[in-house]
Symmetry: C2
Subunit: 213 residues, 2 copies
DNA sequence: GTTGTAGGAGTACGTCGTACGCCTACAACG
DNA sequence: CGTTGTAGGCGTACGACGTACTCCTACAAC
């Protein structure tokens, strides 16, 4: 052991405060408004002061993503059929993201760096393993679920069939896109939760059939 | 009719040339390198000259996305079982995007503006309709397929289980994420095509079950 | 030729991320 | 309680971005 000659001045901000401020900016001004200057102003500190806490903007975004996902309960639901467990886990992520839709574009890139997402993935795998999936079958099941959840959440918030995008599609030339137009009309009566859950059920049914064989 | 006093100077660039140049920049320098200046330089023209052809950077990106997707054959495969038709259509998009992975982050946002994607969607709906899907069942089937295809393609190129991301996950603390670590190891022997196709098959099996009832 | 329109180049502005340097606050030591 | 060294906080400044605006120029129709 060597003697410590001096202790530095203590930090005046916590990472949690920083994340909260960045999320407030994101919710208020959208992803384009999430700048170092804006977050600095939100905290009443200087722009460059943020660099005492994060290496760059990338790290700030990672902090925001984690802040949004952190409330997700990553415990596998106990005592329910495995498919219900997966449904529950998927819906928890969808709900958390729905509270802060502006993070949606960040999710694909940051999904590996979020401890919460990793814990969530571990929980999904626990349910799949408990259901009897192993080896490459489990790999494909997991990947398919992850792909669907991420993709479907993006569809929902970046103009899904049942969303603002419906109007765009409904306005297409009827003769060139008759089925898209008809589907857009049908989509008007489907609420987002049912779209998300309905698609997930298709995947779960497919998985169930794998277990039967 | 009124007499035309003068005809303007003809355009020296075609939108196709512009799209090709932008795509070349994207392939070479990635999405961050796709700037108005870089595309101008690529064409040997001035930066501002591009604004004669596109309103803003957004429109340039739309041009690139369309350029990447344009080669996709959007004719529904004839004379095959409906599930094979969907598989084919999905794989065509996956292959086209795989040739230019840097566009992946743009896909979710621009999917509504691409004529090719719209034609592709119409083809998917034609296959689904031929298989017997209608109404809200068709809405959910379409949305699920679109969500899966977009999500899975992103997983593949932004660090999927079977990809560069595998290493990251394999390096996780073994005691906290035992299943993720094991799955990452199993994923090493699964090629991306099988991951994509395997997940899609799950969805198609789920859809087939809907038709049986 | 002459003429009118639109093309092309260049300049310039505001905003972004962030490198860097200055001064200051404060915990641990004598 | 004074000294000291580290790190915090702030401000300035730079390069790159998107793009508005101004000039000059090329060319098709007369």
């Amino acid at each position: 052991m060597y003697a410590v000659k001096a202790m530095p001045r203590p930090r005046s901000l916590t990472p949690a405060q920083l994340a909260a401020a960045a999320l407030a900016v994101l919710d208020r001004d959208g992803l384009a408004g999430l700048t170092m200057r804006a977050v600095g102003a939100q905290l009443g500190t200087s722009t460059m002061g943020l660099y005492r806490y994060v290496a760059d903007r990338d790290e700030l975004e990672a902090l925001v993503v984690e802040r949004v996902l952190e409330p997700v309960d990553t415990h596998p639901p106990p005592d329910v059929p495995w498919a219900d467990g997966i449904r529950d886990l998927a819906e928890r992520v969808r709900r958390a993201v729905g509270l802060h839709p502006a993070v949606v574009p960040l999710l694909p890139a940051y999904r590996h760096r979020s401890p919460t997402i990793l814990r969530w993935g571990e929980a999904v795998l626990a349910v799949l393993t408990g259901a009897g999936f192993t080896g490459t079958g489990r790999v494909i099941a997991f990947r398919a679920l992850l792909g669907y959840v991420v993709g479907a959440i993006q569809m929902e918030h970046l103009g899904a069939l049942a969303g603002p995008g419906t109007a765009v599609i409904a306005a297409l030339p009827r003769d060139e896109f008759p089925l898209l137009a008809a589907t857009a009309r049908d989509a008007g009566v489907v609420v987002p939760e049912d779209e998300f859950g309905g698609g997930l059920d298709l995947l779960l049914d497919g998985l169930a059939r794998r277990l039967d064989r």
